[in-house]
């Protein structure tokens, strides 16, 4: 506008002093197109709406197709509209999606682009920047931005087949060897009656058929109520392998949770780390529940959690949470190192009726000594630092 103003001003003066129709009409025309262009630009921007359609959760390796719909909701056409959608570098080959389009009255246009997540996380897609201007370029461009959307990429889940988690919770649905956990609903056979057998165990039909007293044999079973305790306190990991160790810890947590849920058992999770979505940055505590829906909630949290330096020490956190856990719960503690304080806390847990399994995802110097100490307390301990190490549970 400033380029044309001197000309307009001269026109105005000439028009007033010469009283010439032509000059005055020109003056009106030139200022009119400026204001009309500005008004059109502002109205266009207000009339544009957009919508992203995509699956907001994905596993590693899955392609996520994002469909972007841009619509002009007014009768006034949009001369040009530049779309610029920012994409996280972890998801797309290009840092952004951009187009320049023109929209007629009430016109909609659709665009698609694909995201290829290769790292777990909680990613922001967008915001979508919209910019436009007037046809003559007399005024500056105007822009606005839409709200971003988010994509959750779950961590890698390694399929496990045999995870021998100890449990003291009776009357479950998993077979067990301890006869103390006999389940009267699970009859596995019959034998002859011997003195001392309870009459309630007599199978009268089999007795009638055999002509002598027969008693039922019950299969032992346990319930496996599991609580995964994932420690992401940076002080508990070796600084050289901190990143890999914590990421692998998350993979282990996801894999164990998936296995337990697959066995139709209850699984819960506590994370001693940071959650960017929480205002206090504390991940939510997820109590033990069954079902795939609950598993997805666990995976949602595992997708987001991050290492932190502000977490409580693991033994302290463990002692805080123990009081809330029911008897017979199996704790699966995933951390980077084991010290005396942790072992003491685990011992307290055992005395409270809980079972524990300790999984160390960071290389621990003198691991054998640690194993002896832990097994002395009656727990299982594993040192797993990479995915192939999980093969022990895949045989």
């Amino acid at each position: 506008m400033q380029d044309y103003l001197p000309f307009l001003f001269i026109l105005a003066l000439l028009a007033v002093f010469l009283r010439d129709d032509t000059i005055l009409t020109l003056f009106y025309l030139l200022t009119g197109v400026y204001f009309a262009g500005r008004w059109w630009r502002d109205r266009s921007l207000k009339a544009v709406s957009f919508k992203r359609q995509y699956e907001d959760r994905a596993f590693l390796g899955e392609a996520v197709v994002v469909r972007l719909e841009v619509a002009n909701t007014a009768w006034l056409p949009v001369v040009w509209l530049r779309l610029h959608d920012s994409l996280p570098v972890e998801l797309a080959a290009h840092r952004f999606f951009q187009r320049v389009v023109t929209l007629g009255p009430h016109e909609r246009q659709h665009f698609e682009y694909a995201l290829h997540p290769y790292k777990r996380g909680y990613y922001r897609i967008g915001p979508l920047m919209l910019s436009t201007g007037d046809v003559l370029g007399l005024s500056e461009e105007a822009d606005c931005q839409g709200a971003p959307d988010f994509l959750t990429v779950y961590p890698q889940i390694v399929p496990l087949t045999s995870l021998n988690l100890p449990s003291r919770a009776p009357l479950g649905t998993l077979r067990h060897t301890q006869p103390i956990f006999e389940d009267p609903t699970r009859v596995m056979g019959k034998r002859d009656y011997v003195s001392g057998d309870s009459l309630r165990r007599v199978d009268w039909k089999a007795t009638a058929a055999a002509g002598r007293l027969q008693v039922k044999l019950f299969e032992p079973s346990i319930a496996l109520e599991t609580l995964i305790f994932l420690n992401l306190n940076s002080e508990d990991y070796d600084s050289r392998s901190r990143y890999d160790a914590t990421e692998f810890a998350i993979v282990v947590a996801a894999s164990v949770a998936a296995w337990v849920a697959g066995k139709k058992q209850s699984v819960g999770m506590l994370v001693n780390g940071a959650d960017p979505l929480d205002e206090n940055r504390r991940p939510p505590a997820l109590p033990a529940r069954k079902g795939r829906h609950h598993l997805m909630r666990l995976l949602d949290v595992l997708a987001r959690v991050q290492l932190t330096e502000q977490a409580l020490p693991l033994p302290q956190r463990l002692r805080q949470e123990l009081v809330n856990l029911p008897w017979g719960t199996t704790l699966v503690i995933i951390t980077g190192m084991a010290d005396e304080a942790l072992l003491e806390a685990l011992f307290q847990a055992r005395r409270a009726g809980l079972e524990a399994v300790l999984i160390l995802t960071s290389p621990v110097p003198g691991f054998e000594r640690v194993r002896e100490r832990v097994e002395h307390f009656g727990f299982q301990v594993y040192e797993l630092t990479k995915v192939p190490d999980l093969d022990i549970w895949r045989r």
């Binding site: 506008m1 400033q2 380029d3 044309y4 103003l5 000309f7 307009l8 001003f9 001269i10 026109l11 105005a12 000439l14 007033v16 010469l18 009283r19 010439d20 129709d21 032509t22 000059i23 005055l24 009409t25 020109l26 003056f27 009106y28 025309l29 030139l30 200022t31 009119g32 197109v33 009309a36 262009g37 059109w40 056409p77 001369v79 040009w80 530049r82 951009q98 187009r99 320049v100 389009v101 023109t102 007629g104 909609r108 246009q109 659709h110 665009f111 698609e112 046809v135 003559l136 370029g137």
Partner: protein, 527 residues
């Protein structure tokens, strides 16, 4: 449905832009040439050069096309100079032949021997004028085309990006300068054509040059600027590797033309004539305001005088003075018009007022916007001594206007609230009972019973059920006990049942209600 898009280097958009731009330049040059031809006609009234307009259109178009072709061939300096020189010579020769198509082949045969004797006769008056105009038209078209080519350059290596970016913007500014400088020349030429030039010795009458020619030039110039803006944007998008819609160029052209047409239509309705100067309008306004103020003062003074006279008559005081003759308000003299100017009727004054309001509004906002874009200008203005006084005065005026507006709005809203408050149970709240359904009628009559009974000193407690209330009413109105019971039963049925309520029941309930109303009227309210 996915929109087809193409990389920015697509030739579709660029070809269309090139074609449109070339055509626009040619027509613009033609408009300019027409105005100059009219100027020539004003200087030599016997000459009519209108037939040359078409020729200049072709010359302009040829110049643009030739410039683009030369750019494509990428000629070096000398071959290029020779190319353009020969082109110009051929055009001038063609112009000479074209002139003879107007004057006739016989004239050509007659002139040929004269050229042999004196070559200067080749360049006689009309041809000289037309030749100079042709050269100007050709050169100007060439410059326009060159500038457009600079803006349309395809994507370039990144190391030259910054240089080229500045070059494109500078080319766009040059294009705007070309358009407006040439436009200013045309406007002045048109002004000269319409003026009386006796003072400079030109006695030929003024020519009414068509407004359309000059306006068409500017409209096309704006479209060209729009195309230039598109070219710059396209280059920027190309550098940033942004995909562009295939139909961008076509829609851009259509929308810019449409906008200019709409604005042109709106502009054609704005007033361009006024009979009063600005000061004349202002003095007329001031006179009108003073006149209104005088009448208001006279009215209130008269009212006070009448009131005083009435009061004194009540007190028995009779003034002996004769009645004051009524004084007609002194008419405000018409505004001081310059001599020999007839008094202006009110309609003319209104038109002038409207014109000045629009004109000053547009001008004022433009100046404000210009100043707001130039921070240094605003800083300079703020340093001026009267600026603060002016700004304070403006703020005071604006706040008083806002305050007045708010007071007005509050007063109106308060008045409306008072009206609604007095409404409440106002009798003018009319409900047509006949239009209600039977179920609604039954409920209406029961609620009317509650209201009337409450007014009669038998209100229903909020915790009372209809049957409990029936018992209370039966005690207070034993003579109306059957009606109360029947009305209560009907209400319960209408209120809580799902089946249809008959009109007969509603009619029966109405009669019961009327009897109850009479009973309540006769009852005295409890103290």
């Amino acid at each position: 449905m996915s929109q087809d898009v193409q990389p920015a280097s697509s030739s579709v958009n660029e070809r269309l832009s090139a074609v449109v731009s070339s055509g626009i330049v040619a027509v613009m040059m033609t408009c300019a040439a027409i105005v100059v031809l009219h100027l020539g006609q004003r200087l030599v009234p016997t000459w009519n050069g209108a037939y040359l307009a078409g020729a200049f259109f072709l010359v302009a178009l040829e110049s643009v096309i030739s410039t683009r072709l030369g750019h494509k061939l990428e000629l070096s300096v000398w071959p290029w100079a020779a190319y353009r020189a020969t082109e110009l010579i051929l055009l001038l020769a063609a112009l000479k032949l074209f002139l003879y198509t107007h004057s006739g082949l016989a004239q050509l045969l007659a002139d040929l021997p004269r050229w042999q004797q004196d070559l200067n006769t080749f360049f006689e008056g009309e041809y000289l004028f037309a030749g100079v105009l042709l050269i100007l038209c050709w050169v100007e078209s060439w410059m326009f085309a060159q500038t457009l080519l600079e803006m349309e350059s395809p994507a370039i290596p990144l190391e030259r990006e910054a240089l080229m970016e500045g070059g494109r913007q500078a080319a766009r500014r040059r294009l705007a300068s070309h358009v407006f400088i040439l436009g200013a020349v045309l406007v002045m030429a048109a002004g000269i054509l319409r003026s009386n030039l006796n003072l400079v010795g030109i006695t030929s009458p003024a020519l009414q040059v068509s407004l359309v020619t000059v306006l068409l030039y500017f409209v096309l110039g704006l479209i060209l600027l729009s195309q230039g803006h598109l070219a710059v944007l396209r280059a920027v998008w190309s550098l940033e590797q942004v995909e562009i819609s295939r139909n961008m160029a076509l829609r851009w052209t259509m929308y810019s033309i449409a906008m200019l047409l709409v604005v042109g239509l709106a502009v054609s309705l704005l007033p361009t004539r006024y009979s009063l100067g600005l000061l004349g309008v202002l003095s007329y306004l001031i006179n009108a305001i003073m006149f209104a103020a005088f009448y208001c003062i006279m009215f209130f003074t008269t009212l006070l005088a009448v009131l005083w006279a009435w009061l004194t008559s009540l007190l028995g005081i009779r003034e002996q003075t004769p009645p004051v003759p009524s004084v007609a308000p002194t008419a405000i003299p018409p505004q001081a018009m310059p001599p020999a100017v007839a008094p202006v009727p009110w309609l003319d004054a209104l038109k002038s007022l409207f014109f000045w309001a629009v004109f000053l509004g547009v001008l004022g906002y433009s100046l404000y916007y210009y100043a707001s874009q130039r921070k240094e200008v605003m800083a300079l203005l703020r340093r001026l001594p009267f600026w603060r006084w002016l700004a304070r005065g403006w703020r005071a005026l604006w706040s008083s206007v806002k305050g007045l507006n708010q007071s007005l709005v509050s007063a109106v809203q308060a008045g409306l609230r008072r009206l609604r408050a007095t409404g409440g149970d106002a009798p003018w709240q009319y409900l047509n009972v006949r239009r209600l359904s039977p179920r609604e009628r039954v409920r209406f009559f029961y609620l009317a019973l509650l209201r009337r009974a409450g007014e009669s000193g038998l209100p229903r407690r909020p915790d009372e059920t209809p049957y409990e209330y029936e018992s209370d009413l039966a005690v207070a109105l034993p003579e109306a006990d059957p009606e109360v019971a029947a009305l209560t039963d009907a209400y319960i049925e209408a209120r809580y049942s799902q089946h249809a309520i008959s009109a007969h029941l509603a009619g029966t309930v109405r009669k019961q209600w009327e009897r109850l109303r009479r009973a309540l009227r006769q009852r005295q309210p409890k103290a």
